[in-house]
């Protein structure tokens, strides 16, 4: 009996979200923007909630942002992460895309997950963060952020 290594949850794209994941595979971070009212829209969707237009354009952003909130995970968690704890998850408010907040893990400059509760990194609300790319345990590329 073989034991398969534990895997993280796999993002399942649909027609509305596929462009986001296609861009991630090319190391580009994109967010929808409304052609009519210029609103930045997150999470992905078919219609602008502000002006109700359906002409939305995927627009690349730098990924630079600020820490809107953060947590550090401790047991119990999914098996795939059991030997990586604690690690920090960020809620990042993106510069240049007002109101857009994304979830991502705290990584080092090379995009490797940091084993930390944030203390050593001096993480703080409002701290500036920069975009990196992390390849997870299943080979899935994910946007991630570094201090």
């Amino acid at each position: 009996m073989s034991t398969a290594p534990p895997l993280p949850p796999k993002p399942v794209a649909d027609r509305d979200t596929q462009p986001f994941w296609d861009a991630v595979a090319e190391h580009r971070l994109v967010v929808q923007r409304c052609d009519s009212c210029a609103a930045w829209i997150w999470q992905p969707r078919p219609i602008c909630p502000r002006c109700h237009g359906d002409a939305l354009t995927w627009t690349e952003v730098s990924g630079a942002g600020r820490v809107a909130s953060w947590t550090a995970l401790h047991p119990p968690v999914l098996a795939v992460w059991a030997d990586k704890l604690p690690f920090v998850i960020l809620l990042v408010e993106l510069d240049g895309a007002p109101g857009v907040r994304m979830i991502g893990q705290l990584v080092d400059d090379a995009g490797e997950l940091l084993r930390t509760n944030g203390d050593g990194e001096g993480i703080a609300m409002g701290a500036p963060v920069a975009l990196r790319w992390r390849v997870d345990e299943a080979g899935q590329t994910l946007p991630a952020w570094t201090l």
Partner: protein, 385 residues
């Protein structure tokens, strides 16, 4: 004044309740425990399955209304339905029953929640495909309910100066209630503030004791129209539903509700004005509250969003002498976690006057669903409209 239509004979009344003993492993299916809870609630009201013409459930309840009707031997359902959004579904599910009774669509509706949340495992541990909103959460580690709440709790701490001690005050207060409740899972386990501060972190800034229990449990209530309740030989006092309300707010997400414009308001901020309008009551009319408490920060947020104190003053209010008595059974944190249904049953017990932490002369008891998901609240009262 109330904007809702009231026909006094059709006011919904809770005439029966039942809860099975809580357990870490109840040894039965949720179908089985749910049926026993409903049978118990019907017996409490002097009714049988032959009297039932409606069943409502949580969407998360794996046993459908039809399966439960078959198990119980209910001859015909004139009303059925389910409400979504996890722990937000409690009062909304009862509201689904109440609205049908008020409209005359059904006369006797049972509502239940049975859940093997301890022996049945953690639902978050098995969902490996992340669709819809989950694709932007779960692959990154936001998997457990507490993970999303932790992000919000830190924002509330930052915004209003809330502290871990403030959350510890909630945890130790409800533990004290559980210590008086022989049914509570934590009946024999006391908790001091030192115990709270020493407990291990789960999702910073939230520790183990900020989290609700993992429990097997099953509870049910029976609602009838007031005109029917009048003709019944009730051995327990009826609890009248004075009103209820549901709310979502804009751009709402269940549990990970941090993408909108205002991260300091939960869906309950939208439920509260509707509840006061629909009941014609105000905070000063409420004698005791049962607040959905899967996580401690939900309690101070409740008090400020329902207007018992000002915005940001939730923790100061909880620490003050003016604070209403809350979660008298021990709640989700210390009695049992059954998706908040034990809070609804406890609200009925307060109106009946039979709680283990009974508040004197209860006229109105307010009970809520979870405030970080689309949710609802209701008021149960000693007297009819």
């Amino acid at each position: 004044m109330s904007g809702v239509i009231r026909t006094p004979g059709r006011q919904p009344v809770v005439v029966g309740l039942h809860s099975l003993p809580y357990s870490k492993d109840i040894g039965m299916t949720e179908r089985h425990t749910g049926a026993l809870a409903i049978q118990g609630a019907l017996a409490d009201a002097g009714l049988t399955a032959e009297d039932v013409d409606g069943i409502c459930r949580y969407v998360w309840q794996p046993t459908t209304e039809m399966e439960m009707a078959r198990v119980l031997g209910v001859p015909n359902l004139r009303w059925f339905g389910a409400q979504d959004y996890g722990g937000g579904a409690g009062p909304p599910t009862v509201a689904l029953a109440c609205a049908a009774i008020e409209l005359g669509l059904a006369d006797c509706i049972v509502v239940w929640r049975s859940r093997n949340r301890s022996s049945g495992g953690r639902p978050w541990a098995g969902q490996m495909l992340a669709e819809n909103q989950d694709q932007f959460e779960r692959p990154f580690g936001i998997v457990r309910p507490v993970d999303g709440i932790a992000l919000l709790a830190r924002i509330w701490m930052q915004t209003w100066g809330w502290t871990r001690e403030d959350f510890g005050r909630v945890a130790t207060t409800v533990r004290g209630h559980a210590n008086r409740n022989p049914m509570a899972m934590m009946h024999h386990k006391t908790m001091t503030m030192d115990d709270y501060m020493a407990s291990r972190m789960i999702a910073e800034p939230l520790c183990l004791f900020d989290n609700c229990l993992e429990t097997d449990g099953a509870l049910a209530i029976v609602l009838v129209a007031a005109e029917r309740a009048r003709d019944m030989d009730l051995s327990n006092k009826p609890a009248y539903v004075s009103g209820y309300a549901l709310g979502s707010g804009p751009q709402v997400y269940a549990m990970t509700n941090y993408y909108g414009d205002d991260l300091t308001r939960s869906p309950n901020a939208f439920v509260a004005p509707e509840l006061w309008r629909n009941t014609g009551l105000k905070p000063g009319d409420i004698d005791v509250v049962q607040i959905y408490d899967a996580f401690t920060p939900q309690v101070p947020l409740f008090f400020q969003e329902f207007g018992f104190c000002g915005e940001g003053d939730g923790t100061a209010y909880v620490a003050s002498d003016e604070c209403l008595t809350y979660n008298t059974s021990g709640g989700g944190l210390s009695e049992a976690y059954v998706h908040g249904f034990n809070l609804i049953v406890e609200a009925v017990r307060q109106v009946r006057g039979v709680s283990s932490t009974q508040v004197a002369e209860v006229r109105h008891c307010l009970v809520t669903g979870g405030n970080v998901v689309p949710t609802g609240a209701m008021v149960l009262s000693k007297e009819p409209w």
